[in-house]
Symmetry: C2
Subunit: 281 residues, 2 copies
Amino acid sequence: MAQAVQASIGDSEFDRDTAVTLRAPGVYDAELSPGWTIIRAVNGGYLLALLGRALGDALPHADPFTITAHYLSASRPGPAEIRTETVRTGRTLSTGQASLLQRDEDGTEVERIRVLATYGDLDTLHGEVRTSARPPAMPPYEQCAGTGDGPPPPFSGSSAIMDRLAIRLDPATVGWVVGAPSGKGETRGWFGLADGRDHDPLSLLLAVDALPPTSFDLGLSGWTPTVELTVHVRCRPAPGPLRIAIATRNLAGGFLEEDAEVWDSADRLVAQSRQLAKAPR
Amino acid sequence: MAQAVQASIGDSEFDRDTAVTLRAPGVYDAELSPGWTIIRAVNGGYLLALLGRALGDALPHADPFTITAHYLSASRPGPAEIRTETVRTGRTLSTGQASLLQRDEDGTEVERIRVLATYGDLDTLHGEVRTSARPPAMPPYEQCAGTGDGPPPPFSGSSAIMDRLAIRLDPATVGWVVGAPSGKGETRGWFGLADGRDHDPLSLLLAVDALPPTSFDLGLSGWTPTVELTVHVRCRPAPGPLRIAIATRNLAGGFLEEDAEVWDSADRLVAQSRQLAKAPR
């Protein structure tokens, strides 16, 4: 049996599904793939990666350092347009803005997402590393729960994205699967892409929004739509699976925050994110 | 002696210095006050509050829920223009964008700051409060260090903003004043406005950027200019001083993050912020 060629950065499902095509100065065509949906929603991290790719092309600097998205209305699989604006260019940093637009059934153009971001070159960051944060305490990969283990997810509808991700969850954070949430509001897991592609700054944007919501671990059911998501990409990730630790500490007034830390195989804290989401009703 | 009238929300230095005047649809005039500078830099939180006030006027919803600013170039005391754009309006949330512009000496218009934010009405948030975060462990107000105590700040130049703030710092986080930083990268303190004005959502935007930088507690000297700052305002603050706890856990590659939590007198976590800043050279 011929050995399957492992996907690589630039040649993978993720790259094909986040590809953008320049159509006019600063304007890109994209196709939102149905492959990255959870239930009917196109995953917010996938969308951020798509927008991130467009901005990286439009700006003089290639890597998102800090990127914020406001999710205005639900995106749908299908054609989309990304309009970018260069806000400022500098020697080491550039700032840009981007909008993701789609047409409704009646042809009306609707803005789905607006992004504001500052980009740089991660390969020029040579300052000392004095990270006092520590990787999450979590069982090794083999002892974490794969999505094939245990009961099916407690929600109906497409989980197409799950076919594209290689996730193993810390058992301490998935009690909700059997009706026993810990109540702590935490999600932890190992994260990779199913086709074996290594991570890069853009897949980090997917990673911070690709684990089950912490609301499940709080004993809440129902979705937590993201209002805003901000990601800091601090380091190019080393090859191999990422460890992601997500926590909610301020569920209040119908909203909650999710803080994610993403660690690579070299124990670097490669990305930090925070999102504001609506709590389930 | 006549008793001085205490400032109140709407009638205070902070309100006067963050006032905006509508000049054309979505366009506001503002005056950046020299009273909110530290050394020569106009404080980033003060600028965010100014922009936040303009957006609150421009949008159908008055309170910033999540607001992100990218600081593009150094603002200077003097006239400024704020241009707002309404991105989306909804029943409970609205999203807007704003730019702060000034003219250089040769008359060229330069964008200083760009903001993207989603606003709502804090008074409509009635969901349960299940905040697992806890207020910072810190000495009571009287046992914290006022800016009048101890040696003068280890930096020269104007500290005009210090005259407008009533800050008391946790002694455990100001060892740097006497050359003995803890190395933990933390700042904690009690925070109020010098004229006694109570806090509101806009002064929270000032508060998250108004304490000494955590870099001092890391033993670094020199400034840490903010690249991007995102604030979540989660609750209208109760009257009385705020407690602010700031921490840096990922100083790496010439950048650092500062995470701030702001607690009010009712022990509510009223705001959370994260900024990405350049580490001192």
